[in-house]
Symmetry: C2
Subunit: 133 residues, 2 copies
DNA sequence: CCTAGTGTGCTAGGCAACTAATACAGTATA
DNA sequence: TATACTGTATTAGTTGCCTAGCACACTAGG
């Protein structure tokens, strides 16, 4: 099963993207509490990255209490993880939106123009990925 | 005169932020074609960074044709720079908004929740900085 | 002419982040 | 017990950003 997708041609660290994607998988229900997440080595092979990079992502997720290691078995989704991942996701998205708007205002862009972009992009996102799988 | 503001506690390279801020200054009318931008050394002193870092920003801006050096004098805002800086700014903001929405959708966040965040943050931005200078 | 200001180019070094390779410790299963 | 899987820790190497110092070419102004 393919849970993650690093495609995003972003400049963020790989381990951070992996961690985010795993959070999203939990928030979206693809991974549920008690489930075993893909092993470090397997996920590394799947994503064509070094196992340490994956391990780093899991380490961060553990320090947030979202995943729990079970030696010899794998890494398990923690109990209250769903709600916390949803909240994390919400704050992540919100922070990005907020920052973009903030910068637009600081650059003295016309409020009407900012609003137009917001409406336009929201509309585009809804029409393009509408009849999707 | 203080044109720039690096405060943004972001993780982007300093030179990139300086370049963006200069573009914004042109787009917003604080710097007009023919005006001399702050000298490399002066701006470096003002921002408490190394002159090379500022020079790097100007170098990038020149390669985009937005600023033109005048030897012995300083760096001048190019002729058609205003519209191009506005366009650059527009695309920059648009890309950020688009990316945030895109990621929200990829994470399977409910469209209604995404829209709520967009409306909420836009409303907040407008009420907080309303009666501003 | 001469001084002080401009931008430009170069080399060097430090520092932090990221990735990688390897070895180690524990557990399931045959 | 032996094998093969798990996660973990340590160490190294690469890269990019930033700083630093210096030399060079040019120009305005005294």
């Amino acid at each position: 099963m393919i849970l993650l997708d690093l495609n995003s041609g972003e400049e963020r660290p790989i381990y951070a993207r992996i961690a985010d994607q795993l959070k999203f998988a939990v928030a979206g229900g693809a991974l549920r509490p008690g489930d075993l997440a893909p092993s470090v080595r397997e996920l590394a092979k799947q994503l064509l990255v070094n196992p340490n990079t994956v391990a780093r992502a899991y380490r961060d997720l553990q320090s947030e209490g979202l995943f729990e290691p079970v030696r010899g078995m794998g890494i398990q989704v923690a109990e209250g993880a769903v709600e916390r991942c949803r909240q994390s996701r919400r704050e992540m998205i919100r922070a990005r939106i907020r920052r973009a708007i903030e910068e637009a205002r600081e650059s003295r862009m016309e409020p009407s123009e900012i609003e137009a972009i917001l409406r336009d992009e929201w509309a585009k996102a809804n029409q393009s990925t509408n009849g999707k799988a």
